[in-house]
């Protein structure tokens, strides 16, 4: 990658890159296959260190991992929504992020669980919060000689959980028209929200970290009023366009609908999550 710079493109599952090359959207002279590098294929979780998720781990392995399902159900369901089972056997979360699509399912889910991307290149290593990773449709902070190694995700606090939902016109094999991820931490004593992170997909040029939406919940009980405020703030944070997948008006509306649904779902999960 360092030798060929702009002319090279990293490949993991290839579920985006190969299609883009066929369509002539990307025309790299070199394709560097990363998916067999062992360090990029590991999932490890511990209560002390949290989760380290290799950039090239196929989505299907995430869904099959008991720790992932238990501690990061929202991120797990996002990975499980990508394409079909066949596609999930190749597609990776790292590739989903590096492709830089605003509609990527895993990015709002990664932002919700405060994931950081560990990037390595000739100049050394850096950790980039996922909400800062994408810069424009198809563009990221990765330099031509850098690659994404893994995600580092903190251990969920006690009484917290996450959720991700997307809206698609069909039931499968589709691309998000709107996606919303949320992570919620509750105070078991009075059911107040003590921490929240909400992120939106497919409603702006990059995935959106909707800080104001989360702020509308923190310190409040999650009742209709507070959740409505969060939904309204999420809608305000979105900047969708009209395209063949949905009108801007439709998307703004559905951001509110999904924010409401996802916050409720994450909160329900947080209530039953064991004290950790």
């Amino acid at each position: 990658m360092a030798a060929h710079g702009d002319k090279a493109r990293a490949l993991c599952g290839g579920t985006d890159l190969i299609i883009q090359m066929r369509a002539g959207v990307r025309r790299p002279e070199y394709v560097v296959d990363l998916k067999n590098i062992a360090a990029l294929r590991q999932i490890s979780f511990s209560m002390q260190h949290g989760l380290r998720l290799g950039a090239a781990v196929p989505a299907i392995e995430i869904h099959e991992n008991a720790d992932m399902r238990r501690y990061y159900p929202g991120l797990t369901e996002a990975a499980h929504l990508i394409g079909s089972l066949q596609i999930q056997s190749r597609a990776s979360v790292g590739g989903n992020l590096c492709n830089g699509s605003p509609a990527a399912d895993t990015i709002p889910a990664l932002i919700a669980v405060a994931a950081k991307a560990r990037v390595i290149g000739p100049q050394g290593e850096r950790l980039v919060p996922v909400e800062e990773f994408c810069t424009a449709p198809g563009r990221t902070v990765l330099q031509p000689d850098e690659i994404l190694i893994e995600f580092q995700i903190p251990t969920p606090a006690p009484h917290s959980s996450d959720a991700y939902q997307r809206f698609i016109p069909r039931n499968e094999m589709d691309i998000a028209v709107v996606g919303v991820g949320a992570a919620i931490t509750l105070d078991p004593a009075d059911d107040r929200c003590v921490a929240a992170r909400i992120a939106l997909g497919a409603v702006g040029p990059t995935p959106i970290f909707a800080r104001e939406a989360a702020a509308a919940l923190v310190g409040k009980r999650l009742d209709e009023a507070s959740i409505d405020n969060a939904a309204r703030a999420a809608t305000a944070a979105s900047s969708p366009i009209d395209d063949m997948r949905g009108t801007a008006e439709f998307r703004r509306h559905v951001v509110g609908v999904l924010t409401r649904r996802v916050v409720k779902l994450a909160a329900e999960r947080a209530r039953v999550a064991q004290s950790r």
């Binding site: 016109p169 094999m173 949905g246």
Partner: protein, 761 residues
């Protein structure tokens, strides 16, 4: 579930043997068009227009020809100019100039994706690179994308030569105006207690066959040529491709490959003559295969439409009058199915007073092709939702309302002549008595909708040959491409007549040099007409068996009986097996043949019931349950009949919910892939229930009616009616996609604020 009304004692017909072509298909051995390859074969690729409407000022191909590996480039200059008038070519009159220009643009490009030039090279990749080296200078013109755009005064004129009878010598985009009238419409509306009038729009949609178009052409030095291709009609390809390529029709042999779906879209041609001319120019076999983007941009679709429909009825539910205005997008060249739309829109009902005005309008979109009951689905979306609304106003059950007005034998068709025996009422009663319709639908935002549909079906020409083998098995040779299981059905017809097992008949779909003229697999005609030809060919073989027995027994042939594979006369008996084994000693091989023209066929009706649940926060519709009841006359192989009913219903649900061509302001197609051209997947549909209704068609040896098409007609209206009953919102635009339905739901909720404040809980 079969509601059999036929009392004849068939032994093979009506059973469900394993299809003869099944093993080849599930093991991957079946050969589809793109599987054919020959030594020294070249690969052809097409340059397509990036503009919806433009004049071609120049085409320079030097750079493409200079690329190593490129063997030839062809443009319209390599094809003969053909007469700009309707001419008999193959099965139906065709304007050959339009056909030729659609396949290779001459002076103008008329839609995004219009073919301009083709390259043959030693690899598909080189051909693709060469296509990019062709330089075309365009004068970009404003496009007319909808019937409204194209019909308004001052609209861009798409085909300067186009005229219609009413506008004299004025250039126009209206290719034809068709009118049907009956009774006194104004008086009819005066009798009505309730009148509903609405304007509908239906989107341009694609047939969505799995297999893209393909062709392999081999032009020989002796002037003879062969095309291997995916088509619904090999004789149509022979007629049309030879005309466009400028070779004698019968110098061309067309070999129909196994076909991966057509739905009407493979009745016409695209690549065949291009590959042939490239082969002629290079002396090599040339293969062309479309990408999915090519398929969506430049083949198929069926018309989008605008329909204004007004209908009235009395308080007790008798329809009194209908007034209908309909305009269909023909695409870049005339020939939308608006005439069929007009003749089907109220065909299921007795309406004493009616007027229908139908307009065929050219627009800067791909030339439309046939698609399963062409024109009827658009039309039924309008009429069947109005009928539902009238039933609701009368407080009458929608099936009862239809029963009060349903056509039966002797009632006039839209074009005038009376119906023969038909089974519309029987389909309504089948739904009325179905477990589905009798079940309770409970829960919020759920609704049940019903709609019906009519389709003519066609007869036309078919040939069949039945060769009896010495072991009393038979080979069956037919010219009908097998799209939906017709090979198995026809083997069953031969087996029925011969008194042998279906498995003992080996059916083959033959090329144009091997079997007598046979029209396309389309118009729901194959099981019916080719089935009748097979019936008669097998009877011809039985006649020969009887003659031989009569000679041996020294009796008259008419004294010999034949039943279940046994020849008999008095106490003399001989099995088909014994007779077949002795063919060489009794007069030579036994070969039955028939070539027929079937003029009159039984039309089909279907009624579909759909349950939906609407997510009122997002406008997404879930199909909970769907049942299709269809009059099929007599089901030859019930599994494949049910498959047709399920397939048509599934496609109709696709029209209803998400399928549409999306063009931008400049006339470029935005969704030229299957991610954004959203056909339903198996996860979007329930198991579709089927009720086979059998009202035998008069004049057919088995009583069969066409089964392939009518099932697509009712579903969009049935879904719209279900949505109306679930939410109170009457949808008038297809598809009823989430953004459209949500907008209508929010409007009904009376909220100007479409943001979160108005959102559902």
């Amino acid at each position: 579930m079969a509601a059999a009304t036929d009392e004849r004692n068939f032994k093979v017909i009506g059973t469900r043997p394993i299809r003869h072509d099944g093993v080849d298909k599930v093991t991957g051995r079946a050969r589809y068009g793109a599987d054919y390859a020959f030594p020294d074969m070249l690969h052809g690729k097409m340059l397509r227009s990036p503009y919806a409407h433009a004049r071609i000022k120049s085409i320079k191909v030097d750079k493409a020809l200079a690329l190593p590996g490129v063997k030839a480039v062809v443009t319209s200059a390599d094809f003969p100019e053909l007469p700009d008038k309707m001419e008999a070519a193959g099965e139906a009159p065709v304007n050959l100039a339009h056909l030729s220009e659609n396949l290779m643009a001459r002076d103008k490009v008329l839609y995004d994706g219009h073919a301009i030039a083709a390259v043959a090279a030693t690899s598909p990749h080189i051909a693709e690179e060469a296509v990019k080296l062709i330089e075309v200078e365009y004068e970009v013109l404003p496009p007319a994308m909808t019937v409204e755009d194209a019909m308004k005064p001052g609209a861009p004129i798409i085909n300067p030569k186009l005229r219609n009878k009413e506008e004299g010598d004025k250039p126009t985009n209206v290719a034809a105006h068709i009118q049907f009238k009956r009774g006194a419409v104004e008086a009819g509306f005066k009798e009505a207690d309730f009148i509903v009038e609405r304007e509908f729009r239906t989107a341009m949609v694609h047939q969505g066959y799995l297999e893209p178009h393909n062709a392999v052409a081999i032009y020989n030095a002796d002037g003879k040529s062969t095309i291997y291709t995916s088509t619904q009609g090999s004789f149509a390809v022979r007629a049309l491709a030879s005309a466009v390529a400028g070779v004698p029709e019968t110098s061309l042999k067309v070999v129909p490959a196994e076909i991966g779906g057509g739905f009407g879209g493979k009745l016409t041609i695209y690549l065949d003559p291009i590959a042939l001319v490239l082969s002629k120019k290079t002396g090599h076999p040339v293969k062309m295969v479309m990408s999915r983007a090519d398929v969506l941009r430049a083949t198929g679709p069926t018309s989008g439409s605008t329909i204004r429909c007004k209908m009235g009825c009395t308080r007790d539910g008798k329809l009194t009058a209908a007034e209908i205005w309909m305009a269909y997008e023909a695409g870049a060249y005339p020939g939308s199915p608006v005439g069929a739309g007009a003749m089907t829109i109220i065909a299921p009902y007795n309406i004493p007073n009616m007027i229908i005005d139908a307009y065929d309008v050219v627009v800067n979109r791909p030339k439309t092709a046939a698609y399963r009951a062409p024109g009827a689905t658009n039309a039924a979306m309008a009429s069947e939702t109005i009928i539902d609304e009238l039933a609701e106003k009368c407080g009458i059950d929608p099936i009862e309302f239809r029963l009060k007005n349903a056509v039966k034998e002797g009632d006039p068709q839209t074009a005038g002549p009376p119906y023969k025996r038909i089974g519309f009422i029987e389909t309504l009663e089948a739904i009325k008595n179905s477990p589905h319709y009798k079940s309770k639908l409970e829960g919020p935002n759920r609704g049940r909708g019903v709609a019906s549909g009519f389709w003519f079906n066609v007869g036309m020409n078919s040939s069949a040959v039945v060769n009896l083998n010495a072991d009393a098995t038979a080979s069956l040779v037919i010219g009908s491409v097998d799209v939906g299981g017709t090979r198995a059905a026809q083997a069953m017809v031969a087996a029925e007549v011969l008194g042998i097992k279906a498995e003992d008949v080996r059916p083959s779909v033959a090329d144009t040099d091997t079997i007598g003229y046979t029209d396309m697999t389309g118009g729901s005609r194959t099981a019916v007409t080719t089935g009748a030809a097979v019936f008669m060919a097998a009877e011809d073989a039985v006649r020969q068996l009887k003659e031989r027995a009569a000679k041996r027994w020294e009796v008259k042939p008419e004294e010999v009986a034949y039943q279940d594979g046994v020849l008999s006369c008095g106490d003399k008996r001989m099995t088909i097996k014994e007779m077949a084994a002795q063919f060489a000693r009794t007069g030579g091989p036994i070969s039955g043949r028939a070539s027929i023209n079937l003029r009159s066929v039984g039309p089909s009706f279907a009624t579909v019931c759909v349950d939906v649940e609407v997510d009122t926060d997002t406008g997404k519709v879930k199909i909970l349950r769907a049942t299709c009841a269809q009059d099929v006359g007599k089901a030859l192989h019930p599994s494949y009949v049910e498959g047709q009913m399920q397939g048509g219903t599934a496609q109709g649900i696709g029209w209803a919910l998400n399928e549409e061509y999306v063009y931008d302001d400049r006339g470029n197609l935005r969704n030229f892939g299957l991610l954004d051209y959203r056909m339903p997947t198996c996860l979007d549909l329930p198991q579709i229930e089927t009720i086979i209704v059998e009202v035998p068609a008069p004049g057919h040896p088995i009583g069969s009616r066409g089964v392939g098409e009518v099932n697509i007609v009712p579903p969009p209206a049935a879904v719209a009616n279900a949505i109306a009953r679930a939410t109170g919102v009457r949808m008038t635009e297809l598809p009823m996609s989430p953004p459209r339905l949500l907008k209508a739901l929010l409007k009904k909720r009376g909220s100007a604020d479409t943001q979160v404040a108005a959102a559902g809980r």
